[in-house]
Amino acid sequence: MSELTLAERGEKTLAQPAIVAGDLAYLTARTFATLARPPWNWQLWIEQMEQVGFRSLGVTYVTTLFTGMVLALQTAYSLPQIGVKYYIGTVVAKSLVRELGPVLVALVVGGRIGAGMTAELGTMKVSEQIDALRSLAVDPLQRLVLPRVLATMLMLPALTLLGDAVGIIGGLFIGVTVLDLPAGFYMNDVLTSLTLQDVWSGLGKALVFGYFIAIVACRNGLRVTGGADGVGRATTVTVVTGAMFVLVSDFFLTQLFHLIF
């Protein structure tokens, strides 16, 4: 293989994100185009929703429960002299619902389901199962990619909503047991500070994160070459790339939702 010059390497590195973006846009367009054509295999969609949603409940609860508890503690300990502990309801609820809930759930759940999707599709690719689908006149995008993307886009907001609630309960637990706050006081603080816009903003983020996680995972799975080694490498790339997409898009979505709401 010929050696690349420094300029060629630089060009290749700079071109890579554009290639990935183009790939993702093309895959998205082709996948959603299959929505217009029967058959709509509801059973597959429901199976994926169970896989993405129900089976991620445990990890979601643990992540957001402890985040809510840590938020409450850190807030109270950071500025004790100005009585900030009386505002922990506001801090916990706002932080979780607008930002930490969607981002942490996307990172943790996304790592789990993204890696699983890439490994599953990658294994199907190297064992010729994807080609077998095509040879049987079944569209792999309609059968494999669409249910995964839709399920993740729907389930991530649902998990985020549940996670937000669990995180707020975590804050309540610390407020009552460690900071001696009355439960009613804490909950009143949460309910009066939270707005519908906060909730929509968090859910909107989770929806977009879900799309990025699933489409990146499916794209990497469908492009696997080289057997088990290739599946392993693609899975690692999915976890890292998915996390990058979540964190970078979070910045732009935060700006966008501040403008909208």
Partner: protein, 251 residues
């Protein structure tokens, strides 16, 4: 004679390269109704690539593959689907769906493309499993099957829609001689049962002897020889002679 009939496939000027490597270099051939064309050749000469052009799983760089009066190379993936229902394919690895049991694997094409009821599907599945001599294994998962059984279940899956054409990619690779012989006879039986046109890619000479109507010997992107077994044995092509004798080129 089969050669007088209108061909099922007419392939012209097929070229395909991967990077700098030219795998197919202007391939021309026909496949006639009811015949079994066996494509022979050394490993890495592009036999499987040739086969995958016949149902559009891969696209050539140039050339045409005409099936049922249509050039497959000009069709989109969606436009290929109706034609693929008429062309069954058995993959080298079997390519059974890991997540489904034998019944669901074999029933898959029926559920995807027909409106048959549950009982009719079950009856069809049972029927094709009997054709491949594997009755009663409907509930087993692919991971619980031997290599030979997996290939035969995959054969059953490719037969269930009763395609006009069957493509076989190295159907006996990795199997012991007895299992390979059993697969060869299953292929011959499946072909004779429905007068199916078949194209088999292999370097297994025993399989070729069992099923071939004609042989095509692929080397350096082109067919060096196309003809019957008798013509192959009488050919003065040295490389073909070495291949059929199982000898090194310089032996």
């Amino acid at each position: 004679m089969a050669a007088a009939a209108e061909p099922v496939f007419r392939v012209r000027g097929l070229t395909k390269s991967y990077g700098d490597k030219r795998v197919l270099d202007g391939l021309d051939f026909e496949v006639f109704p009811d015949e079994c064309l066996v494509i022979l050749g050394r490993s890495g000469t592009g036999k499987s690539v040739t086969l995958r052009q016949l149902n559009g799983l891969e696209r050539p760089d140039s050339g045409s593959v005409v099936f049922a009066g249509v050039d497959l190379c000009t069709l989109s993936e969606r436009q290929l689907f109706p034609l693929r229902k008429r062309i069954g394919m058995l993959f080298q690895s079997g390519a059974l769906f890991d997540s489904m049991n034998v019944h669901d694997n074999v029933a898959f094409p029926l559920r995807a493309h027909t409106k048959l009821g549950r009982d009719e599907v079950a009856a069809k599945v049972q029927e094709v499993l009997e054709v491949v001599e594997l009755p009663g294994i409907e509930e087993k998962m692919p991971s619980a099957l031997s290599g030979g059984m997996r290939k035969r279940v995959a054969l059953a899956r490719s037969l269930v829609l009763q395609p006009e054409v069957l493509l076989f990619d190295e159907p006996t690779t990795g199997l012991d001689p007895m299992t390979a012989d059993s697969i060869a006879h299953s292929i011959a039986a499946a072909r004779d049962r429905a007068h199916t046109t078949t194209v088999v890619v292999t370097h297994d000479l025993h399989l070729a002897q069992t099923v071939a109507s004609r042989l095509a010997f692929l080397d350096e992107g082109r067919f060096r020889f196309v003809g019957t077994w008798d013509e192959a044995r009488q050919s003065d092509d040295a490389l073909l002679g070495h291949f059929l004798a199982g000898q090194r080129e310089d032996a």
